[in-house]
Subunit: 319 residues, 2 copies
């Protein structure tokens, strides 16, 4: 078969590759896969424990026994719903992933593909949809009618969190450094948004929205303190990333006086995945796909991912 | 009657004082009261909205209709258990408090004094006991058998959190800057403790205890990041104060990867107060009283509070 193989740090090739058969695994024919930032970071050698060569990719959709399937990217979550256990891993590291014509995978990772989706949009769902579902619902327990702010709209997880929150009937606001992305979100149902490069952006959005019950963030950094300021009393602030690094000035006073909850979240349990799929099926959520590349264009796809221009997922198709 | 009156910033006198009668309030004879840091900060003019003269004090025990009573210090919490409403106040600001021979108070604030306590120890319970109960149980949901770290042992809230956690059957560890306080805590049932002035104190306690499921902190500041490091996956970190100021280096990565919950908490709802009283009655918790002053020694008592030497509550008696 052919696969997108990381041969060494930064060296990605689409080439013939044979996976070794493994006991208890089944073979699934992959029709489409999707990129995550994780794949870019692995390519750059930023993850420990990489053994080259490796097939990257956590997200995919394909065919198994004539049935359309997608994969739960969380492997061996463990017994505690509150956190992943010691044996936890994600498809695509340390074991071979979805950027290939076939994948060897444990049958328990397979789930029926939502019937309203095609392979391309279904491949975009698993990792980002799972991450968004857990942080938004399992952790922050967003309720209908609540006001929620989603930072960095356009990223995969942020967009699913956005779509899920709109489908639930929450009042959703967004931030971005790109006015065009804010405009798109408003067309898709956001009540409003603000460009976080503006001075006092947090005061503007608070004036417009009146404070937030739930805030979903993956940036951290210097702007995080502003999120605490625009959080309502009793608000839940979900963190699923930290692209802007450490928070330099966190106020304990704001946290205890406003009874805030700052809730870390990554990936999701098997229950989270099933609940996410049910929610997607019931609400006919269709993942936003920004651009489609073929497997052979993998280097272009990774470069585009790094540009940060996308609004939605970047999909790879197996042809 | 006589009362401890704050006449202006930093001017505290024990003197004759007449409270104005107010509709719907009842008169309770106070037998004992207890100091909180809040009283010291109000004396120093650090709270907004002070109108002089005012009788300080949030904690007290006394007699109403021949029954021994204590006071719920939370007034007008409001309808949402998750946070205090806009009309929330605490006994002793903006209205007159417990450092007086009598208090005018709403009858709904009165609760039967636990029968295993005398006035002096009962007066030490309400504010700190309520704060500890909410942060430990309502917010962090400490369970029997879990490992909990309580920072700054010796303070009123920290000691109640300690006593409650031991009574529940948790494995309790403490920190302090004072080895003698750690020793006392171990005598009272702590499994271990560490002096946070030592280099790498967090590594020492982690080596000894193996990581914490729950951490209760009121310091914040530079040491807070170490608490995240010794938190187990899925840990809950309760914050009820911030005496060391802003946290300068909070890592989003630690928070999301370990699925941590950082939970702010202050005071408590009416339900929290009743649940706390039930817990104290069922487990025969006796507040730790460090030192007793008479009302006329109020300036000495405030000075002693500020010294930070105490291990337990400072009680004032009405004679």
């Amino acid at each position: 078969m052919k696969a997108i193989v990381l041969e060494s740090k930064n060296k990605l090739s689409y080439k013939s590759f044979e996976s070794h058969k493994a006991d208890g695994k089944v073979v699934v024919d992959i029709k489409a896969a999707a990129l995550n930032h994780r794949d870019v970071w692995i390519m750059k050698g930023m993850y420990p424990g990489i053994k080259y060569p490796i097939i990257l990719g956590a997200d995919g959709a394909g065919v198994y026994k004539n049935q359309a399937v997608i994969f739960n990217p969380s492997i061996n979550w463990g017994i505690n719903p509150a956190f992943q256990g010691k044996d936890f891993e994600i498809i695509g590291l340390p074991n071979n992933g979805t950027f290939a014509e076939q994948i060897l995978i444990d049958e328990t990772q397979l789930f029926p593909m939502p019937s309203h989706l095609d392979f391309k949009s279904a491949a975009a769902l698993p990792l980002a949809g799972l991450t968004a579902f857990r942080v938004l619902f399992s952790r922050c327990k967003l309720k209908k009618g609540e006001r929620v702010l989603i930072s960095g709209i356009g990223g995969g997880v942020a967009l699913f969190a956005f779509q899920f929150a709109v489908a639930l009937g929450a009042n959703v606001y967004v931030t971005s450094s790109d006015d065009a992305k804010i405009e798109k979100a408003i067309q898709m149902g956001a009540k409003g948004g603000v460009n976080y490069k503006e001075d006092d952006w947090h005061k503007k959005i608070q004036k417009e929205a009146g404070g937030f019950d739930v805030i979903i963030d993956s940036a951290g950094g210097n702007g995080f303190q502003n999120l605490l300021k625009i959080a309502n009393f009793g608000a839940r602030i979900g963190i699923y990333g930290g692209t802007r690094g450490a928070v330099p000035n966190l106020s304990p006073q704001l946290i205890f006086w406003k009874q805030l909850s700052i809730l870390g979240s990554t990936m999701g349990s098997d229950d989270d995945f099933e609940n996410m799929l049910n929610f997607v099926n019931q609400n006919h959520i269709t993942p936003i796909v920004d651009k489609i590349f073929s497997f052979s264009e993998c280097n272009d796809a990774f470069e585009y991912m790094e540009s940060g221009k996308q609004f939605g997922k970047i999909v790879l198709i197996a042809k």
